[in-house]
Amino acid sequence: MVATVVAAAASSAYTNIHLTEISASKSMELRWVRTRITKTSQQLNNNKQKLLSTPLLPVYISTNPRHVDPQNIRDLCSTCNHSFNRFPNLKNSETSEPVDINKLRIALSHSDVLVSVFCKPHHVDGLAESSSSSIVDFFTPVSPSRDLLVGFGRAVSDCGLTASIYDVMVIPSLRRMGIGKIIVKKIVRMLTTRDIYDIAALCSEDERLFFKACGFGGDILDATTMMYTRTASPTIQEGEQTVICAGRKLLLVPPLIERSYKSSRTII
């Protein structure tokens, strides 16, 4: 009986089962992701057999902002070595400093879309155990407070025209299984149901292919992405220069505009 259930689950690539909480307005979804093909299964000759032997892993996708705990996000961030600053301070060990928890709270509270992915702790090493345990998991109720946060993504929008996706991350041991793609697709789906189609995502060189696979295009209408990177200039000596620290860069704050009254044709 166990074998038939697993086979049924494996015959379709993904099965969606909605678990709707009583009080939450958003739903939590149970998704099955295929784990990486291990070395032993690669030795199998029969393709069909190979498909069945790669175990399926249950992950829980939630868009409910109440499931988001800033401390968990911070830990996930450190594990993924992801920085919230675009120009992070990378020390010798290549790990960026942990994100400020208060700023993180503010950022999370002002993000319109929050997607978090949970997983049972014993699945975190990326390989599901024997198929019998997956049946037990199927019937164990999901609890975001108990299960481990393994993936996250958020989007900021103006609720009308545009949106930007930031900070999509999945823990290293569960990468390359399609979880990141699920997160991005979920975010996009939530935005398009609100009639927002102008969705941007800032990404570094490494992430470009990932977003391309999620349906994002590089060139759009000839628009160039630009970021403010002006740092303090050593040549300007008059007055004081105000700078703020943004990761590794010290960004120069433009001077205060002086008001001009009754002066014809002068612009500051």
């Binding site: 009080s23 902002p65 109440r66 988001v68 800033p70 919230f84 600053n85 675009r86 120009f87 700023k103 993180l104 503010i106 950022a107 999370l108 509270s109 002002h110 993000s111 319109d112 958020r154 900021v156 929008s157 103006d158 609720c159 009308g160 025209l161 545009t162 930007s164 398009t192 009639d195 969705i199 941007a200 995502a201 800032l202 990404c203 570094s204 060189e205 470009r208 391309k212 349906g215 295009g217 759009i220 209408l221 000839d222 628009a223 160039t224 992405t225 630009m226 970021m227 403010y228 990761g247 860069k249 704050v253 433009p254 505009i257 008001r259 001009s260 009254y261 014809s264 044709r265 500051i268």
Partner: protein, 250 residues
Amino acid sequence: MLTLNLNTLPSSSFKIVPFHANYPLYTQTQLLIPTNLNYPFTNTATRKFRTFQLKAGFWESIKSGMRKNNTTQVIDPESTDEEDEEPLPQEFVLVENTEPDGTIEQIIFSSGGDIDVYDLQALCDKVGWPRRPLAKLAAALKNSYMVACLYSVRKSPGSEGNEQKLLIGMARATSDHAFNATIWDVLVDPGYQGQGLGKTLVEKLIRALLQRDIGNITLFADSKVVEFYRNLGFEADPEGIKGMFWYPNQ
């Protein structure tokens, strides 16, 4: 929908009350939807809930009971600092010109004020931008972190009053209030271009953002204006960071 929630089973709302157990009374009544999330309906929700303050007796009893059992706080709304989070509205005169016939023209910088969507639509037409749905425009302006605009006010010398106020420039920025911000929609009336007004608008936005410690300021520039932004301190594709847009037909 909101009143329905008030009458739901107490057992389901108990999950939510401890979430707010440490906050002042006026946020206590805004139990069911965290007020700081930028969902479109929360703005109306807070107004409705403020009128429910007098009926808070029931909730206070739960609050006192729950206070002992208060566990983890999930998201912490900065209710006391909410006024300081948004950039303060400002308005001041940038330039004042006196024309030969005595008319005084002032160019006024304004931020945090309300913009008439129809005026903005007219300005977009003047610049040559495609038309966008007005409702979406209004929602976008309302939910942007900062909107700065320029008005031209003409006063004729003779009669008192009869000011002509015209919207001649606008720039807006969206942000998550902590790390990232994106500047959209910078436009100046063609008749007033070339005077540094656009530069003023953008610099003001940058200043406001940096003073809130928002370090990642991004924008997507057309090829014609890349040089304009470069002069303001923006760098194209810094360190390989690029923006990608979603294509629905893939």
